[in-house]
Symmetry: C2
Subunit: 257 residues, 2 copies
């Protein structure tokens, strides 16, 4: 972190100039940047200095390396991710209808992979589900794709004792949704807590979701509860920051509060 | 992005080994890493290779450079950030009471800086507030600190015509809250939409919030509406991912839905 007011290193000044061109649209999303050689000539600096500037912008997620052709301005397109959709299929607020329609119209082809495993859950999951030591869970791991590109990852954990004889064990899509299966098992969720953490991806996540440099993720940990306050589902969703905007609607509980 | 199954570069293997030690707690938060020299000897590689491994971990936000003493395992501590607090001072769900108590007990000293400006708002703000071209806004810019360290940044925009004669114009803390002032002006907010974007910080944000490498931010854009659906406040909050976890409570609107 540079001290405030300190003179900026040359590579920072070059990065600032290029960032400005990206922000103003002079360099457009998807456009190729000038070569290291050309930038070196333009700013009258060594190629190593240009490379430092480009690395900075790469780690900010603004440009993407595409060897051997150099760097391209990153195209960012975020889709609405609405955790409340689980309990409210349609938005409750009129402002969101138009956004949702725009989403629906964009016609990309969704697909997913599903794996089902029986695991001793990580501590954070056992905790949220209130499990006894050594109590096992079923986890349905899904990776969702749009037009063949990884879009997000979603691991849903259920107590094994609750779901062991149900369709949740089958590694196929459950058309009516796992929540409906829970309801049939007498464990309908009526509320949930979402905890959103923001961090850089693990190498496994970066590979699974094909994340370039400078691409943070939002990790949503959702715990679902029945009407009698029993946690019955814990979901970990990993959303690449470049592909999603997470949206919540929020009401004043009591207008005279 | 490495092709799946491709042999890993040596520096990636070293980074993986160190990451494993951090995740297992063998290297603890705040602990100093071995020197480049020592790591070079341990893994029998050149110092440049060690440096590549350390840069990778730095950009993942796992280690912090502290010249000239080398690298330290990052201490991460996240506080609960609850957007719903605006309309529900206390959590609605029993599970959250304990968390909130733990927060309250930790006794760090909060402070803030407040600047008030009259600005032609950015496009995204004018849009959300439904302003006419050239309609001005008042923005209250706050940076919040805990024990003197920057914690988050919060810019609240209001239509100038609505608030020009109110306390919102004064660059001091409004004890009863700006929302209460809006209510007194006949513009009580009863609902809001939160849009959460996850990205790397801009250089300005990194300086303001003193963010180290590999520290993404959550940007929450909140638009508040009155009972007659008029947008009266647009807030942009920038939360360092290492310092916050954003929490929402979510209910099934109709239990028989």
């Amino acid at each position: 972190m540079a001290a405030r007011g300190a003179p900026q290193a040359v590579y920072v000044r070059i990065a600032n100039a290029l960032r400005g061109q990206i922000e103003s649209g002079q360099l457009e999303p998807g456009q190729q940047l000038p070569t290291e050689h050309a930038l070196g000539a333009e700013y009258e600096v060594a190629r190593a200095t240009v490379r430092q500037a480009l690395t900075l912008l790469k780690n900010e997620g603004l440009i993407i390396p595409a060897r051997p052709r150099g760097y391209f301005v990153r195209k960012i397109r975020r889709s609405i991710y609405r955790p409340q959709a689980e309990f409210r299929p349609r938005p409750h607020f009129a402002e969101m209808d138009q956004w949702m329609e725009e989403q629906a119209e964009d016609g990309r082809e969704p697909s997913q992979t599903i794996n089902v495993e029986i695991v001793n859950p990580p501590h954070e999951i056992a905790n949220r589900l209130g499990l006894k030591p050594d109590e096992m869970t079923v986890v349905r791991r899904r990776i969702r794709y749009l037009d063949g590109e990884p879009f997000n990852a979603n691991d849903s954990y259920f107590p094994l004792s609750l779901v062991s004889t149900s369709e949740i064990m089958v590694p196929h899509d459950i058309q009516r949704g796992a929540n409906e299966v829970l309801a049939e098992l007498g464990a309908r969720q009526v509320r949930a807590i979402d905890e959103i953490e923001v961090r850089m991806p693990t190498p496994t996540e970066a590979t699974q979701l094909d994340l370039g440099p400078g691409t943070p993720v939002a990790v949503i940990r959702s715990t679902g509860y029945t009407a009698d306050d029993r946690p019955v589902r814990a979901v970990v969703t990993v959303l690449p920051g470049t592909k999603h905007v997470i949206v919540f609607e929020r009401d004043r509980l009591d207008p005279d509060d």
